[in-house]
């Protein structure tokens, strides 16, 4: 029976079938298939969440190795494992609405998560202050445009110089937005072609056949 799961052709056939089940009803009206598509979508959604279990297992393995070998920073791994286990236990035993779980989230997870994001402001600030140099005409234009947008973003400027909004919006709409659209086009086309490569059997890595190929 294991030949069934190891067969490239069977895997590809399953892939093509489920692709058609999802793709065809989007472009052609087929209400009969909708129910099946919904159920498949739910199964895919549920399965994808099991990476959390893999992450927990992997972290335990790594942390225990750090602690055993007393590598630099090993004490922090004890704290990490204790917190991870404690939160998992409390969540399963008493539910996500229990005061202990909420406290762990509010007192530990929230500040850590906020700090990791908040630090970005300092990093961006120093990177911009360091890197914005008018070494060429193009760089000078970039700095001027950047300063206009920065000035507009500061709420006080708009209150006293409302005319700056039109310049800043011009820059954001015509350059920022068009760049964003160009990116979207490139990403979407790349994604479609990758799917075609998978469906035609030219990209098998994600099915686990890379080992055989190499």
């Amino acid at each position: 029976m294991s030949w069934l799961f190891k067969s490239k052709q069977v895997n590809l056939a399953v892939l093509v079938f489920f692709f058609l089940v999802g793709f065809v009803p989007y472009f052609f009206l087929m209400p009969q298939v909708d129910d099946a598509v919904n159920k498949l979508s739910l199964i895919a959604a549920t399965t994808g969440q099991f990476t959390v279990a893999i992450a927990i297992y992997s972290q335990w393995r790594r942390s225990l190795r750090f602690i055993k070998e007393k590598r630099k920073g090993w004490a922090y791994h004890i704290y990490l494992l204790a917190l991870m286990s404690g939160m998992t236990f409390i969540g399963f035993a008493w539910g996500k609405s229990h005061a202990a779980y909420i406290w762990l989230t509010s007192a530990i997870v929230t500040p850590l998560s906020s700090v990791a994001y908040g630090i970005l402001a300092f990093y961006m600030f120093s990177a911009l202050a360091r890197a914005f140099r008018a070494r060429s005409l193009k760089a000078a234009f970039l700095i001027v445009s950047g300063c206009i947008v920065l000035l507009y973003q500061a709420p006080l400027t708009g209150a006293y110089f409302p005319g700056i909004e039109s310049y800043a919006v011009f820059l954001t709409d015509n350059f920022g937005m068009s760049l964003s659209r160009m990116f979207s086009i490139a990403i979407i086309i790349g994604g479609i072609i990758l799917n075609i490569r998978m469906l035609t059997g030219r990209e098998l890595a994600f099915l686990g056949f890379a080992r055989e190929e190499s």
Binding site: T105, V109, A116, F122, A134, P155, S184
Partner: protein, 289 residues
């Protein structure tokens, strides 16, 4: 050996960037401790967002998607709270669907702490006016399922209570939502646009973080969104419009000063570069060896 001469230009070119961190910290913290009360101007973007929410009527059902984790919530908080205050005041029914697991404790913070008194003021009750569906949109596949047949995909709220007999009985597909409100840090759900907005024409508003602005404007310009709100500043403007001062307006003084400080540092850096760094390079290049 002679003393090294102090050079202001050299200092401007070579200062330690940790001074920037310290100065930024002080300058941002100061106005939050002692607010200055600088005026702000409301942008057309925020005004449009405000008008779209004001256009909702009591009893309209909004799919309220929180595709943000804790870190992003800090930036979205002013607009988040201001938008929900508007929903509550207008009597709009909300179905809160989370797109990130960190949204679960966020629900407690928002409804049990931040908005509790506001909800009591307008008699806004759970199961009657709002339902928390939980982490039901982990990915696009789940969104497709809910868009096609809502009650097949979602049967209970986040605590396992059946949603039968509530206002959600009137929602069967994506077409039955009056509006979708998405609060996202960019990790959000493309399925909402692809499989609800494009498929059913349901209007959608979005509150994004600042760096997502170009993408949001592209969607707004294409008609995929009917309104958008950008970052903390948009939230502060919305607070101003609804006359409910909150964390956004408090932050705007720091916001303004921080932006001006960045421009000043860019100017300082360029003066240092042209006054010191490029001259030093020129000297080294042309020196007699």
């Amino acid at each position: 050996m002679g003393q090294k001469e102090f050079s202001l230009l050299k200092l401007m070119a070579t200062y330690d960037k940790r001074w920037i961190y310290l100065l930024l910290f002080i300058i941002v913290l100061g106005p939050m401790v002692q607010p200055i009360g600088m005026p702000i101007a409301v942008s057309a973007l925020t005004r449009n967002y405000y008008e779209k929410i004001m256009g909702l009527k009591a009893g309209d059902i909004v799919l309220d998607c929180w595709s943000t984790e804790w870190s992003g919530y800090m930036e979205l908080k002013p607009g988040f709270l201001a938008s929900h205050k508007m929903f509550i005041k207008e009597g709009v029914k909300l179905a809160i669907a989370l797109g990130h697991p960190e949204g679960i404790p966020l629900v407690h913070t928002v409804f049990d702490e931040e908005l509790k008194s506001y909800m009591e003021k307008y008699d806004y009750e759970y199961m009657k006016d709002y339902i928390i569906l939980g982490f039901v949109f982990p990915n696009v596949a789940a969104t497709i399922a809910a868009a096609s047949d809502f009650h097949a995909a979602v049967k209970v709220d986040w605590m396992g209570t059946s949603i039968e007999g509530t206002f959600l009985d009137n929602v069967h597909t994506g077409a039955d939502w009056t509006m979708i409100a998405d609060f996202t840090t960019g990790a959000g759900n493309p399925g909402l646009v692809d499989h609800i907005v494009l498929r059913f024409g349901t209007p959608m508003i979005s509150h994004d973080i600042g760096v997502m602005l170009p993408g949001m404007l592209a969607n707004l310009d294409a008609g995929l969104y009917v309104a958008g709100l950008a970052s903390t500043r948009g939230g502060a403007e919305l607070e101003y419009l609804i006359s409910e001062p909150g964390p956004g307006l408090i932050m705007m003084d720091s916001f303004t000063i921080g932006h001006y400080m960045l421009i000043i540092f860019i100017i300082i850096g360029n003066i240092g570069y042209f006054g010191w760094t490029s001259r030093t390079r020129e000297r080294e290049k042309t020196a007699i060896k």
